[in-house]
């Protein structure tokens, strides 16, 4: 250990001790707050939102909403014994959306003054007027009942911005150290990102809300290289999902404790047996399956895709047109139950209100294998009016509107979309024990799916050969190819509540300009029969 690093770890330990005895008494915690020009900025921002929507209404908007967001983020990246990057950022701004005679306009600025927000609101109205010319179907907004007012806060235990930076660095470097101790490991990268998003929203229908949302994203990658440089294998720590939580999630991820196991698996991958191509029963661990759900269920059930609005980038959907699929299409096995839920504690899309002020619903998307609903916003729900009338439900938004940043317009983004556990409390081990010839996959890897979400290919982190109900060795170069409806219909065994895991990602891309959504997907170990497996290894 170098002298500088030893000193650093020592000071980190001292900082940790100080933190334990007093509320951040350590000088190490004294990272200054960005200058706040007024005493109660929160009131000012709420007032600025109201000012913006008044200006939009005065300029002729029939509807307007204003959203001020302030982001505080902190990121640390390390490799081996070195901190590669350390940053702490704060940015803020306002986005104003207006509706004039059924056409949308949007404008955004970082200038948070009374005059600037009014000007940006007028600019959004001018946009809407320019867009109104070629309108075929004017936008209609589904009603959402009483005006929404209140505050909401992510249920965190510890605000990450109150913890000394040295504590965080010490954990990451210790995790790298633990990985590097494993023979054959040559590289270890680790990092963590913390985000706090404060969001003020108001619309011309009387809603005014304030929310404070947190995200914690720890990560680690360990690479082993063969002695002659002819092969290298990386193990990414996918078990560590990003969550809508605070510092506690970073500690509970236990990078230091888990690193030796991941490192060992990276080394084992070097000598793993290349997979033989063919059809196998697959037992998919929830640290892997969440991504398959994301790509092959969550995306195709977005209503804007089904209606053709995303055809130029994200694509359309095989579950379209709605009138041919809603309530009648068998999406998968009767064991398949999929629910949208933005209330799950610690999930990435949890919130009090979506980005158009709607309190999100918990609702079924697939019930006993049958496709029963799409994800919607206020603009989209009226397209399904015929269906909701038929099933006796009110036509309202499910609360699935989101914008990645103040400067981006909100649109339909997936909420947490999760598989419900089976009635019997089966485990990962139970599924393996019940399988005669298969491959068990842990962790997500490579992923790709077509623009209508039929044909997908997924890799993973660790692949196990299963023979006669037992894991008999490790495989490498495994990827499976699937056609969505057949794949979900082939699911014949699923885990119970105790094997449930909440995976997720910050980088769910959609829209033009492309926006990233943060979303969680809960699921249980599940078995799929007779799936096509390819070998991805090629020699250069």
């Amino acid at each position: 250990m170098s002298a500088s690093r030893r000193e650093f770890v020592k000071s980190a330990a001292a900082a940790a001790a100080l933190t334990a005895i007093g509320p951040h008494a350590s000088a190490l915690a004294a990272v200054p707050e960005i200058h706040v020009p007024t005493q109660r900025m929160e009131d000012d921002y709420a007032a600025l939102c109201l000012r913006a929507i008044e200006a939009a209404r005065a300029a002729g908007a029939q509807y307007a909403d204003a959203r001020i967001a302030r982001y505080r983020s902190q990121g640390i990246n390390t490799r081996e014994r070195r901190v590669q990057g350390l940053s702490d950022n704060e940015t803020a701004g306002i986005g104003v959306r207006t509706l004039v005679n059924g056409a949308w306009g949007f404008a955004a600025t970082a200038e948070l003054t009374t005059d600037a927000v009014a000007a940006v609101a007028r600019s959004a109205v001018a946009q809407a007027r320019a867009n109104r010319a070629a309108l075929a179907r004017p936008v209609q907004l589904a009603p959402y009942g009483a005006a929404q007012k209140g505050t909401w806060r992510s249920p965190i235990k510890t605000d990450p911005f109150t913890i000394p930076i040295a504590d965080k660095v010490a954990v990451l470097l210790a995790a790298n150290d633990a990985a590097m101790k494993v023979r054959g490991v040559r590289f270890a990268n680790s990092g963590v990102n913390f985000l706090r998003e404060e969001k003020w929203f108001a619309n011309t229908e009387g809603s005014a809300t304030e929310q404070v949302l947190f995200r914690c994203t720890p990560g680690m990658n360990i690479t082993a290289v063969s002695a002659d440089n002819s092969d290298f294998q990386t193990r990414a720590a996918n078990e560590i999902a990003p969550r809508g939580l605070g510092y506690e999630h970073f500690l509970e991820s236990d990078l230091v404790g888990n690193a030796p196991k991941w490192a060992d698996e990276a080394v084992q991958k070097l000598s793993a047996k290349p997979v033989e191509v063919g059809r196998y029963d697959l037992i998919l661990h929830p640290t892997h399956l969440w991504l398959t759900i994301h790509e092959s269920i969550a995306h195709p059930t977005e209503l804007d895709r089904a209606l053709g609005f995303e055809a130029n980038y994200a694509g359309t959907s095989f579950v379209a047109p709605p009138e041919k699929f809603l309530g009648t299409y068998q999406y998968g096995s009767t064991m398949l139950n999929i629910q949208a839920d933005r209330s799950q504690t610690g999930s990435l899309s949890a919130c009090g209100w979506d980005d158009e002020g709607v309190a999100p619903e918990v609702y079924d998307i697939i019930k006993d294998g049958m496709f029963v609903d799409y994800q919607t916003t206020r603009e989209q729900a009226p397209y399904l009016d015929w269906y909701y009338k038929k099933i006796g439900k009110p036509t309202r938004s499910h609360g699935n509107s989101y914008a990645q940043y103040w400067s981006d317009v909100q649109f339909q983004r997936m909420p947490n979309i999760s598989q419900l556990p089976g009635e019997r409390d089966l485990t990962w081990e139970d599924l393996i024990a019940a399988t005669d010839r298969g491959i068990a996959i842990v962790g997500d890897g490579s992923f790709s799916i077509d623009q209508q979400r039929y044909n997908a290919q997924f890799g993973g982190q660790v692949f196990y050969e299963v023979r006669g109900g037992k894991i008999t060795g490790m495989l490498k170069d495994v990827a499976y190819q699937m056609r969505t409806p057949e794949f979900w219909k082939s699911m014949d065994m699923i885990g119970g509540r105790s094997s449930y895991f909440l995976g997720g990602a910050n980088g769910d891309g959609k829209g033009q300009p492309a926006q990233s959504n943060a979303v969680s997907h809960g699921c249980v170990p599940s078995r799929f029969r007779n799936v096509n497996v390819i070998n991805t290894g090629r020699s250069a």
């Binding site: 704060e90 056409a103 949308w104 320019a130 002659d228 790709s448 991805t536």
Partner: protein, 476 residues
């Protein structure tokens, strides 16, 4: 859009305006060189660190989306971010704000410095650069693009939607306009400034029954070079021709790739150009036994691959994120790997000059074959418009997977005979460029999946053999 003229003064001192004044844009224009220099100097005046670097990005982004033959959303946004990187000895950290008042600038410096003092010493720390000489190029900027307001954007969109409507087709698309200024300065006298406009217009036209889909797109720094109606006609034609598609057996096929599909593949090589990863044994460009493949033939000898932000064909910022001048880097010349991307630390360690990294556009050599000649010379093959959902499978061979999309056709006996269903491939640009048969004239293409303007990519159409298709897709 940017440059509408009036610009709000400092917060809170906005004067009265005429009733007859048109709606005013709510944000400042881009920072000029002098303004960026002034903000940099102000930030430096608050700094107490041994070294301080100030990076400023000001942007005016405008966009218009259309779907089902009408504008769906559009917007303008304005932002200026200021990032301060402070270094004490070998300890560094950075902090970003998007507020420009003195108190915020002072605070962002304090935050970066407080963090830097807490950072462990970085054994790889490199000192900040002193004054540098940078090339200047005007090709990256276009007044016409900077002046593209909502009405002009709507005209471009209408040129496409009217083609689609006239043919009873459904158009969807995106016009992305980015106007930005970027500067880097430090307390050692280095200052670099670059301003740039970029625009991308893409459209996907589908038949109303969803059985046919065609795409066309273009990107440029100067919007006036993009012919929106021609893009609309091209996508519409492909949509009509791609109906009644049939499935063919997956396997290895000769492919004729339009330039966008070539760029989708070739730009993947850029992600593997890092010299350090190659030296460390975790890259395709690692040499078995140690070292890199520099000097070794890696692809067909007709292939040369260059990044040069000063070339008018691929204009971009002539400096790297840490202020190094960035010039012409020949990655592959006549099939031989000539260099890799060296940052300052790794270059010093390996005893080679640093070259600013892998950015700054991408340009591939070409030939004189036309796409028609490529088709005419093909007994059985596949013509591809573009690729989609391209994701890494194996870094050891730069192996990726993805699918064809929006115009995939069967070539039989020298002719395009019919539309085929889309297919998934597992392939490496390295293998593809080793299986090269013919090349055409390089052109600038829209090569990002998301339709963003991105960096300039100039590539030819190509014909290559043994492209590895692994499964069929029902997606249209």
């Amino acid at each position: 859009m940017a440059n509408h003229g009036s610009r709000p003064s400092a917060p809170g001192v906005d004067g009265p305006r005429s009733l007859f004044e048109p709606p005013r844009v709510a944000a400042p224009a881009l920072l000029t060189r002098d303004e960026a220099d002034a903000v940099t100097k102000k930030v430096l005046s608050f700094a107490t660190a041994d070294e301080t670097r100030v990076t400023i990005g000001s942007s005016a982004s405008g966009n218009m989306r259309f779907a089902v033959n009408q504008v769906s959303t559009s917007g303008d946004s304005f932002d200026t971010t200021i990032t301060v990187r402070s270094t004490f000895g070998k300890r560094s950290a950075s902090s970003t704000t998007n507020k420009r008042d003195d108190a915020s600038l002072k605070s962002v410096v304090e935050r970066a410095e407080a963090l830097a003092k807490l950072a462990p010493e970085d054994p790889e720390a490199m000192p900040e650069l002193g004054p540098q000489n940078y090339a200047t190029s005007s090709a990256a900027w276009s007044d016409a693009t900077a002046a593209l307001d909502a009405a002009k954007r709507a005209n471009a969109v209408n040129a496409i939607t009217s083609v689609a409507k006239a043919e009873n087709l459904v158009s969807t698309g995106f016009l992305d306009v980015n106007v930005g200024a970027f500067s880097i300065g430090n307390n050692k006298g280095m200052f670099a400034y670059h301003r740039q406009t970029a625009v991308a217009l893409t459209t996907t036209v589908r038949t109303p029954d969803g059985t046919g889909s065609g795409w066309a797109g273009a990107t440029a720094n100067d919007f006036t070079t993009i012919d929106a109606a021609a893009l609309g006609r091209r996508a519409a034609d492909k949509a009509k021709r791609s109906t009644n598609s049939v499935a063919i057996e997956p396997g290895r096929y000769t492919v004729v790739l339009e330039p966008t599909a070539v760029a989708n593949m070739v730009q993947l090589i850029g992600g593997s150009l890092n010299a350090r990863a190659a030296d460390e044994g975790r890259s395709f460009f690692s040499k078995p036994g140690g070292g890199t493949k520099i000097g070794m033939k890696v692809v067909d000898e007709r292939v040369t691959l260059i990044s040069d932000p000063n070339d008018p064909e691929t204009p971009g910022a002539p400096f790297s994120f840490d202020g190094q001048p960035m010039g012409r880097r020949v990655w592959i010349e006549n099939g031989v790997l000539k260099t890799l991307a060296y940052d300052r630390y790794w270059a010093q360690r390996q005893g080679v000059p640093p070259n600013g990294g892998a950015g700054g556009g991408l340009m591939m050599s070409g030939g004189d074959a036309t796409i028609e000649q490529m088709i005419a010379s093909t007994e059985r093959g596949i013509l591809c418009t573009r690729f989609w959902y391209i994701r890494g499978v194996d870094q050891r061979t730069i192996l990726f997977t993805g699918l064809t999309r929006d115009g995939t056709f069967l070539i039989e006996n020298g002719k395009v005979t019919r539309a085929i269903k889309n297919m998934r491939w597992n392939e490496s640009p390295i293998f593809m460029l080793n299986n090269l048969e013919m090349m055409g004239r390089p052109v600038r293409v829209s090569s990002s999946e998301s339709g963003s303007a991105g960096q300039a990519v100039v590539v030819p159409p190509i014909k290559a053999r043994d492209f590895n298709f692994t499964s069929a897709s029902d997606a249209v």
